[in-house]
């Protein structure tokens, strides 16, 4: 997947969270493989995927952690929140209970990530319009109230899946540009890599400037 060790300049760490069976693994699979995994086994603990994307001309490697929705593994999955630059919070538009649990997922996310973490709400399975149980308006209101980005997507058709991941990356990249996200912070969830496929500690100017404030 990755053509070489340094063909990207940033690594963004994502987590995907949400109730069991909302389609988190399918979303990740759709994003990384562009395929729908119809009979996806339940995730135990965490799985991960990567993909290199292009944001504003920068190559960014997304390292995405797909967590298990099952309560039993909450202790395991919680350790992955730390240092996530982006959090995709997924619910199933055909199952209201998954929407109702969002607030508890949100609380977890807010508690365990840093304030600069971008949270994106995804209403999955929007291909199943006939079985819809949560209206777009309601969820969009929830997202607005909580300052989340929001989109309805389908891991099956691929609708809006790409957008959700890319928009999150854009927002994170903006945060870096604005200086809101401190790359040097221990848990920023973003790693800067020199884009030159070179040797040695070409950790560039960045490294140098970092030297200044270390004491």
């Amino acid at each position: 997947m990755s053509g070489g060790p340094y063909n990207y300049s940033y690594i963004f760490k994502y987590i995907i969270i949400g109730d069991m069976g909302v389609g988190k693994s399918c979303l990740l699979h759709q994003f990384t493989e562009k395929k729908f995994m119809a009979d996806c086994p339940h995730t135990i603990g965490v799985e991960f995927g990567t993909r290199i994307i292009d944001v504003c001309g920068q190559k960014i490697k997304l390292q995405i952690w797909d967590t298990a929705g099952q309560e039993r593994f909450r202790a395991v999955t919680r350790s992955y929140y730390r240092g996530a630059a982006g959090a995709l919070m997924v619910y199933d538009i055909t199952r209201r209970s998954t929407y109702n649990h969002l607030s508890s997922w949100l609380t977890d996310t807010r508690n365990l990530t840093n304030p600069s973490t971008v949270i994106f709400l995804i209403g999955n399975k929007c291909d199943l319009e006939a079985q819809r149980d949560v209206t777009y308006e309601e969820a969009s209101k929830f997202a607005e109230e909580n300052g989340l980005m929001f989109v309805e997507a389908s891991a099956k058709t691929g609708d809006n899946v790409e957008e959700a991941f890319l928009e999150t990356a854009k927002k994170i990249y903006q945060s870096i540009q604005d200086g809101r996200l401190d790359l040097n912070a221990a848990e920023s969830g973003v790693q800067h890599k020199p884009s030159t496929p070179g040797r040695n500690n070409l950790s560039s100017d960045n490294q140098g400037s970092k030297d200044n404030c270390s004491c």
């Binding site: 339940h42 799985e47 991960f48 039993r72 140098g208 970092k210």
Partner: protein
Amino acid sequence: MPMCVLNLQRSYKYMMYATKQPSLRINQADLKCKNGCGFYGNADWNGYCSKCYRDHLGFEKQKKQGQAQLEKQKSNAFTKFEEKKKHQSDKKSKFLPLFRKPSNLKELEKPHRNSDLKHSNPDADKLMAEFMLTFGQLSESLRHDFFKYIQVFIKRIQTDINMNKPIEDVTEVAQKYYNTFNNGLNTSSTFKDLPSDVRDQLLDFFEKYVMTILFSSLFCPNSTNDEEKDLIIQERIRKLSWVNAHHLDCCISETSIEVRDLVYTAITDLLGMDSVKAPLDKLNCVVKCCRSVMEVLQHCQGGPASADEFLPALIFVVLKANPARLKSNILYVTRFCNDSRLMQGEAGYYFTNLCCAVSFIENLTAKSLNMAEEEFDAYMSGQITCVSAWESALVACEGMHQLRENLNILKDLSQRTTIVQEGSKMLREDIEKFKNELNETVSVVMERTPLVIKPRKSPISLNPHHEQSGGATDVSLRKHDFDQSEPENLNFYHQNLEIGHLNDYTKENLQLDITPCTLIAENASTISVEPTPEDHSHNSFGLSKINYDIDFSDFSGENSMVEDLTPERISLNVTPDPFGPLGTSSAIFQEPLVPLNTSLNVQEKTDSAKSKQQYVLPLVEKLETTLLDEDETDIQNLPSPMKPMSSYSGFSKQGLQIPSIPCNTGDISYLNAHSNASTSSKDDS
């Protein structure tokens, strides 16, 4: 004898499996190094133990030396570039001299230090706190030496990483340094006197600390394809999700709840491996997981598990757990965990087993699962999808979880309902109690101090049988006179009659019906006297008296008729609650001065005269009746039309009726009619 057979069977089975690759059953010898040195080997070390593997590598390396030389020359260009950069950054850093500590050592280290050291590392901080807790009693110089070792190690490794050395080389450096440090512990004057367990602890802490700091550079390094390997095995395990305990020829019962819980524990332990940073901690997770697997087996078999059964069970757990970055973790531990820990002991044994399990999963075929090729392919391609007992148990688990969650909510709700119900019951009891208490108190008070209303003046002068008719007529006549001659003086009378509107002469519609009664009681003395200013000032007094008539609840001495009672009587100061329960305040009968059944339509003046008539009659007839209970008749001789009404229910109820009292002051004519009527009625009697 049976033991022999069993052993034979086992070895037969093993041989059978051994013919195909890979096998589920592994001979203990297979876990050991290919070189036969007695240490545990590892698939990632080509079956050697780490030591032999490195020796082997060194051999290979020498062959490659020439190549490496070439590469070095190539990279020289980069080194120069890098030095230039470094120079620049040094320059830059001079702009901020304030932030630099003038420590020479630091200055030296600076260019080599990696971001890991510069920025706070919470895990390292935690370890540091731990260190101070465990080794706080050690001498300062010892600690200083210890951290010097750490500094040197970190610096060395970072240099290597920055030079982009292959990870194998870094590994070798690290392992060599572990050795050096170990030797230093055993020989240097500072450490050698420590007890051996403290030295062991120091060795372990050394590894934990440096690896926690270097984790991000050494775990899944960019120079390797570890991550790809992770993704491959993750995908493979996902595809193998249909494999169950039966396929693996292992005795784990997937349907038993207890077994499932134990398997979950094992899985969780294994998953924890990815969350910790130090190789030793990762190794500990493996050990914990394997111990749990042993427990599972013990539970399933009802006895101690054999090593033979262990591997299939571990494979099952690994398949079900699909641990994140499995390969990276294994490689990281094999590379950077102190060899001396990895090659022997329980940890070494279990870790080797885990490596075997992983390599089994990587290479397994239809044969290794003892199933037909077609079936296997069908499963792998997803043509056959079966929901395994395990999978459904997982779903059921979540269902159970939801159920439990909901049950908890229900329980909570029912608890709260009970609390509310109890509260309301208590409240009801309290109300009842209070009511009873009140009743009791009131009746006690009533018994103690019966309300006696004494006539203000001796009724003798107003003897209804002999003089009243004359007196009453007198009054009304006089009043009539006043009305015509001196309207101001009339106020005097009306002030005695009206409620709250005494001075409002123009309020024509309000005329108290009690005129005769009050007049009789009041004017018996005053009527004969010419109205004087004093009398006017006395008006308010008269008003209060009227007030008293209207509202018995107001017993304030000055304003009530009670003032005229004898001192004993006045003790009836206890104010009965006008809002009290019906009937409880029955001792005080407060009537609106007009019998209830009397129509008091003020507007219809024609009727009012009639009603006056109806009204006046009782005054005459019931002159001797009491205001209070019948049995208190002896003290009750107030000439009042106030008829005892047992239905008295306080002022609030009464209030409704008060405004309807006809107070037709404007129309004086009725007074005549009234007095006439009373006269006539008197005549009648």
